[in-house]
Symmetry: C2
Subunit: 271 residues, 2 copies
DNA sequence: ACCTGAACACCGTTCAAGT
DNA sequence: ACCTGAACACCGTTCAAGT
């Protein structure tokens, strides 16, 4: 498996990398002097949009999805925005803060999803179900970026991944209390809901990450065969284990979670 | 909160960093010329242990815990081992592989834990309980390193984080089938067990990561107050949310999981 | 007001050379 | 056999300078 590996720093990211906004990558005419700063994009070259924080953050998000974490550098991101890396520091204090902003924009982006309600209108179960599915859609749409949601240190104990947005935490807690949850029950539900989402979605996203060869990957060399010979049960259940049940797994686990929350709601009801 | 921040690249990691193996860090005598390559450690300086893969991996693990990911570089790790960075490449193909090795050694280290059995001797519930607690101990003992277990792409679909070790997956599956689980039931249990562990432990580890100020952190500036004013439910439940219930949360969730697995065992029983 | 050049202190990795 | 020096192609970030 490792012979085909090339660490990403000597793969120079196409080099003729995109400058200017997405042009629908058609067949590109050979450029006479390729290093020129401005390539005919669609907007006239003189109309230099002056760059702003939101544009940086959202470009970082799509770039991240293309090249993965570690493919994202301030210098490369600058290039994509038609600017030197140093310009980014006018709008963002540093790379760490950029990544935090990306993570927050990920979850905040859920506001645009009409399937997700910020307030219950058909019972709390429906409310939580929509929210869970909303986060799942976000995760699956951002395979590369989503793990950041878990790996970056949270800035407050009440922002549990993956719900790293004050707005959504507020929605969650206010929504449940408006549906008759006691404070204690709402907080307990928040805890179990977040750890349910984190575990399931991280695992699902990770499995999409490196799922290249499910079974007969040309020939894995002797190594893998030897490893499997020493782990007979894994070998026997290999096909089962490789199967992707993530969708139904998610639905079932969510169902169980809601039942459990319903029970806690009753237990922790206040007079 | 951000004024006190200094990106770790200009904090030069104590500089007089440890050279040579752990000497029990007693009071160190002032060295005349500190930059000399060999410091009296305990073993005679001439007895240069020739370095090997295991020593590198385990030193990386402890170093990681001290400086966090991003504080670990090949060059700094080399320095700690009394060697130039380039020497490491004799034993390890590259940094990525080193990190994978660290992750595997983390989980494999559970073999040393007498509380964890590699084979059930008192029913499968006891078996899984010991295993869950074993992984939890590993996670809590390696706050910095544990998240790597989730963020690194898995090399096979049958190695679901955090059980990223063929040996333990084999133990898990063989253990359950030996206790009367059908193949399908064992695989289902494996799936729910791993996502339970990942969600709970990642969250617990993350909360230990940046839990500096639970409530009145001197004064958070107007920003935080303003943010909380716009999120009244979060503000009201702040104290509740900040409380650490991880231990009992874990136990309760584990209990629920075992019940659910017991139900699946019956459902998926084969004739 | 907004961006850049040049510089600094780092990275991971290769390879010919040292002992 | 094992380690090192020097080099290469990158990093993040600062700051004085350009337009």
């Amino acid at each position: 498996m490792s012979p085909a590996e090339h660490p990403d720093h000597d793969r120079p990211v196409t080099d003729a990398a995109a400058v200017g906004p997405a042009t629908g990558d058609g067949p590109e005419p050979p450029l006479p002097d390729a290093d020129a700063a401005i390539v005919a994009g669609g907007a006239p070259p003189s109309a230099r949009v002056p760059l702003d924080r939101d544009r940086i953050v959202s470009e970082a998000l799509v770039f991240l999805e293309e090249v993965g974490p570690g493919g994202l550098s301030m210098r490369r991101l600058g290039k994509r925005l038609g600017v030197e890396a140093m310009s980014l520091y006018r709008y963002v204090p540093g790379k760490e803060d950029l990544l935090d902003a990306v993570v927050e924009s990920l979850i905040s982006g859920m506001y645009a999803d009409p399937e997700v309600l910020s307030t219950p209108d058909n019972g709390w179960q429906d409310f939580l179900q929509r929210m869970a599915h909303g986060v799942r859609r976000v995760a699956l749409a951002h395979i590369q970026a989503f793990p950041l949601v878990a790996s970056r240190p949270p800035e407050a104990p009440w922002l549990r991944p993956p719900l790293r947005s004050l707005d959504w935490v507020e929605s969650f807690l206010a929504g449940l209390t408006s549906e008759g949850f006691s404070d204690a029950a709402a907080v307990a539900a928040y805890r179990s809901f977040t750890s349910f989402l984190l575990g399931n979605l991280l695992l699902e996203v990770a499995s999409h990450g490196a799922d290249i060869g499910p079974l007969d990957v040309v020939d894995d060399g002797e190594e893998d065969n030897e490893a499997l010979r020493q782990h007979p049960t894994v070998a026997r259940l290999r096909a089962d284990l490789a199967q992707d049940h993530s969708a139904t797994e998610f639905e079932e686990a969510l169902e169980q979670l809601l039942e459990r929350i319903a029970a806690t709601k009753v237990e922790l009801a206040d007079g």
